[in-house]
């Protein structure tokens, strides 16, 4: 039995099919990302699970119960929003304790539990501050603590990292992963950022135009994309001519031909970008003028390579 | 439940609209129908409607005089306000940001001194010191500027906050523009909406103000209306309606201009003149 299951959930707004026969099952304790461009239906799916949006058809199973007709406040799903959405008039502790308060948990128990939750996200010192007095990253960790305080069946995260700075983003991302593992809470994570999805998920569900393109582990989705959309959306990819067709090869799976070696493709170097351990070399192919990038290990690059030089490219043999 | 939740807002709005429209319709009937209420019935409901009363009033030289007084006072009030408040607000934002709170609080002072109290104080002071000042119609100008100060400051303040003034001034200066040129060619065009907004509100306030004008015995438009109520009631009510319609048009124009570069409004920048 799955922890959370969408069965044939469909939703349209006017003429737009936001979600089409969406079916996925989350195992207990699993972290699944819904990944796709904006408007792909990922947020709609999350909001239907939370009860903020009604679905046209289909059911949502929590364990073995269908909760599709249950109002949002009876679903016991913790939700974290992109905009943090802490209650601005309550201090941090009262924010975290809010879910317990509306459930009628007595004051001292509430206080103790809120303290524990703040310990969990390592913000125990900030209990008396107001939301506007702490940073965005701290606010989002408080939002996590608030959502988890009521021990929800499922944790729903709606682009929780999008409003944060790059460095804080990684911190909060790791925090989410840690909480998911430590507490064993089933988590659904909506994002448009493939790096985020790759680094955090047990499984990724890639979506486009309201339809699931592929569900699989990050490795699976990256190495064996089921569709051209997945190949292009997850990681970067080159499209190269081979005979009458084209092949899709990731930049790191291309190698520069050594001197005298027969090259499958030849082209002129247009740009060389050093990114630490790797160097990205942009090439325009001679035969069809398509742009290709090669990700080569910096230490193995021939020093003679320069912009304008003609070089050979081969597919890496594995 | 769902049905009730859907119905009650509509029902309530309908009742509210009746409350707000009924007095205006009654006013229109009185102004434009020459039948006393007592003898009004089903058969003569649509008879004897005429705008003669209003036309008579509009041709009245006294009316024309009061209109010209009110328009002149409105014009100079807007002028005084702009020359006073635009430099003040810009100065606060550019040179003395610490004084912003003080200036803001001072601009709320006109709410603390009701017009009736202000006019009593004015005659208690200026009448003995500068009687020539109170004798002129234009003595209304500074006091009307005071009445319009709260929303004028707010409108400019919000407009300037939205501008990122410093970057704008920096950019203009780095291109070699002089202070005056920055003011004229960069700041004023960008504050257009705020300025028009404040000016229109000021005009409505001036055209409707009665308290100060009546106690200083100035023959402005509202004073004319109050007096015509006795001599030519139909014309006075017709005139009242006409002014109402014109005010509505002014307000709609303001809101259209405001929509054009719409910003979110909050409690801090509501523009309401409080002079009923």
């Amino acid at each position: 039995m799955s922890a959370l299951e969408f069965v044939n959930v469909s939703k349209s707004f006017g003429d737009v099919n936001a979600l089409n026969n969406f079916t996925i099952a989350l195992e207990q304790g699993e972290l699944v990302s819904l990944l796709g461009p904006s408007g792909c239906g990922k947020t709609t799916a999350l909001r239907i699970a939370a009860g903020f949006e009604t679905s046209d058809t289909g059911s949502i199973l929590l364990g073995s119960t269908n909760i599709i007709s249950l109002p949002a406040h009876q679903r016991r799903m913790g939700m974290v929003f992109q905009s943090y959405s802490l209650f601005p008039h309550l201090n941090i502790r009262d924010n975290v304790a809010f879910g317990l308060k509306v459930r009628g948990v007595p004051g001292d128990v509430r206080k103790k539990r809120a303290g524990e939750m703040l310990d969990l996200v390592r913000l125990s010192d900030l209990g008396h501050r107001m939301p506007h007095q702490i940073s965005g990253g701290q606010q989002q960790r408080v939002a996590l603590a608030r959502a988890l305080a009521t021990e929800p069946h499922v944790l729903l995260l709606d682009e929780p990292l999008s409003a944060l700075d790059a460095k804080i983003r990684v911190e909060v991302r790791d925090e989410i992963r840690r909480l998911n593992r430590d507490l064993g809470v089933t988590t659904m994570f909506v994002t448009h950022d493939q790096d985020e999805a790759m680094s955090i998920s047990d499984r990724i569900c890639v979506m486009n135009n309201g339809v699931i393109e592929q569900i699989g582990s990050p490795r699976d989705v990256y190495n064996n994309p089921a569709t051209s959309f997945v190949a292009h959306f997850v990681g970067s990819i080159n499209s190269l001519p081979r005979g009458n067709t084209r092949v899709l090869i990731r930049p790191e799976n291309l190698v520069l031909a050594t001197h005298g070696e027969i090259a499958q493709w030849r082209g002129a170097v247009t740009d060389i970008t050093f990114v630490g351990a790797f160097t990205k070399i942009s090439v325009v192919l001679d035969n069809d003028k398509s742009s290709v990038s090669v990700l080569a290990i910096s230490s193995q690059i021939d020093h003679n390579i320069a912009i304008g030089k003609n070089i050979g490219i081969n597919e890496e043999i594995r | 439940m769902k049905f009730v939740a859907k119905i009650w807002p509509r029902l309530y709005i309908a009742i509210a609209i009746v409350f707000f429209v009924a007095p205006l319709l009654s006013m229109a009937r009185f102004a434009f129908q020459r039948i006393p209420v007592i003898s009004l019935g089903k058969d003569n409901l649509f008879k004897r409607w005429t705008i003669d009363g209003l036309l008579t009033t509009l041709r009245d030289p006294e009316f024309l005089h009061s209109l010209s007084v009110s328009l002149k006072v409105a014009f100079f009030t807007v002028l005084v306000l702009l020359f006073l408040m635009v430099p003040t607000t810009l100065w606060v934002h550019l040179s003395a940001p610490r004084w912003r709170g003080v200036v803001e609080t001072v601009t709320i002072l006109p709410y603390v001194v009701p017009p009736i109290a202000l006019v009593v104080g004015v005659s208690g002071t200026y009448r003995s010191i500068a009687p020539w000042f109170l004798a002129s119609n234009y003595s209304l100008v500074p006091f009307y500027a005071i009445l319009a100060m709260p929303f004028t400051f707010r409108s400019l303040d919000v407009g300037i906050k939205a501008l990122d003034l410093r970057t704008l001034v920096d950019a203009a200066k780095s291109l070699g523009a002089s202070s005056l040129r920055v003011m004229w060619n960069v700041l004023l065009p960008n504050l257009r909406t705020s300025l028009i907004n404040a000016a229109f509100l000021t005009i409505t306030v001036v055209l409707g103000e009665f308290t100060i004008a009546s106690l200083l015995l100035k023959r402005t438009l509202p004073m004319y209306m109050a007096q015509a109520q006795g001599s030519e009631p139909q014309g006075a009510l017709g005139l009242g309606l006409l002014i109402l319609v014109l005010t509505t048009i002014l307000f709609t124009l303001v809101s259209i201009i405001r929509k054009k570069d719409s910003k979110s409004i909050n409690v801090k920048n509501i523009n309401v003149g409080m002079v009923p």
């Binding site: 679903r75 959502a147 | 707000f20 200036v103 009701p114 500074p142 410093r166 409707g208 979110s264």
Partner: protein
């Protein structure tokens, strides 16, 4: 504070031109004393608002020729005290009703999503109605609810005689109804942005935490609206308290409202014997407004803290 940000731009000039004043610095720092540019503003307010207002108090506490007690004391005794109580009661009632009915109207209008123009229309109309006071408003209500009014006549047709029921457009109930005509729209204009300021994600967050709709309103919605409600109440109170023209035109100068009472002591050019009393009544009005507006500023400053 803000200045350092700007002038540092001039100083960071890599060519070492920091000794010559850049045009920017000339514009920024013409003088050492920053508030100098505010002198015209403070001078204007001082001359045309503060001086007359303060003079009121000076005139009110001057010894009176033909009375033993000071005018300030006399202005809050007997009939004058009744006038103040009457005016405050009217202002409180119309403010309370205005807060209630105006907030309801805002909530109702915001619920209606189509047609799109409806919301804008209501906001424009409220803008007009909130500013509509004085003579035209009094005219409209006399034409509707006066003894010869159209609505009076219509109600009479159904067998209810307003006049016999003790209703007059110039008595307490009458003035209350007339004042609501500008109080409700004013509150509407205050509450529309306040309701819009409630983020959808707050109610969703509350729901996901298990709060039923009433619990959301009790613990989140209402506390967040409190500054607007309270501030609105104080604004509405001061609005009604200082209103003069409407009351004057409604009752042709006979009402018991303080503003209309003040007029008796200042009939145009002629100063009556007890003109100190007029000053004292006005002074007391300012004191009451000072308390009200201080409360308003306090509420707003507090709200601004977490509204940023």
């Amino acid at each position: 504070m803000a200045l350092t940000g700007i002038s540092s731009l001039g100083q960071s000039d890599p060519k070492g031109g920091s000794h010559t004043r850049t045009p920017l610095q000339r514009f920024q720092l013409p003088v050492k004393f920053k508030p100098i540019g505010l002198i015209p503003f403070f001078g204007f307010v001082g001359l045309f608002l503060v001086w007359p207002a303060i003079s009121l108090f000076r005139l009110a506490i001057q010894p009176t020729k033909n009375s033993d007690i000071s005018a300030m004391r006399e202005a809050i005794t007997g009939d004058y005290l009744d006038s103040f109580i009457y005016t405050i009661k009217l202002s409180l009632l119309t403010a309370l009703l205005g807060v209630l009915l105006g907030s309801l109207l805002a909530a109702s209008v915001l619920r209606i999503e189509r047609p799109r123009w409806f919301r804008n229309f209501m906001t424009s109309f409220a803008g007009v109605a909130a500013n509509l006071g004085g003579i035209p408003l009094a005219f409209a209500f006399i034409a509707a609810l006066g003894t010869q009014g159209l609505i009076t006549k219509m109600i009479d047709y159904f067998g209810i005689n307003l006049s016999d029921a003790g209703f007059r457009i110039s008595n307490f109930a009458g003035i209350t109804i007339v004042y609501l005509y500008f109080q409700i729209p004013l509150m509407f204009l205050i509450m529309v942005p306040a309701f819009n300021g409630l983020r959808a994600s707050w109610s969703e967050a509350a729901a996901s935490l298990g709060a039923a709709p009433w619990q959301y309103w009790r613990y989140v919605g209402l506390p967040l609206l409190t500054p607007a409600l309270l501030g609105g109440f104080l604004l509405l109170f001061s609005n009604a308290f200082s209103a003069y023209a409407t009351a004057y035109a409604l009752s042709s100068g006979g009402a018991r409202l303080v503003p209309v009472q003040i007029r008796f002591f200042l009939q145009g050019n002629t100063i009556t014997g007890k003109d100190n009393l007029g000053y004292a009544l006005a002074a007391w009005m300012i004191i009451i407004m000072l308390i009200t507006m201080t409360g308003y500023l306090f509420v707003r400053r507090r709200a601004e803290k977490w509204q940023q």
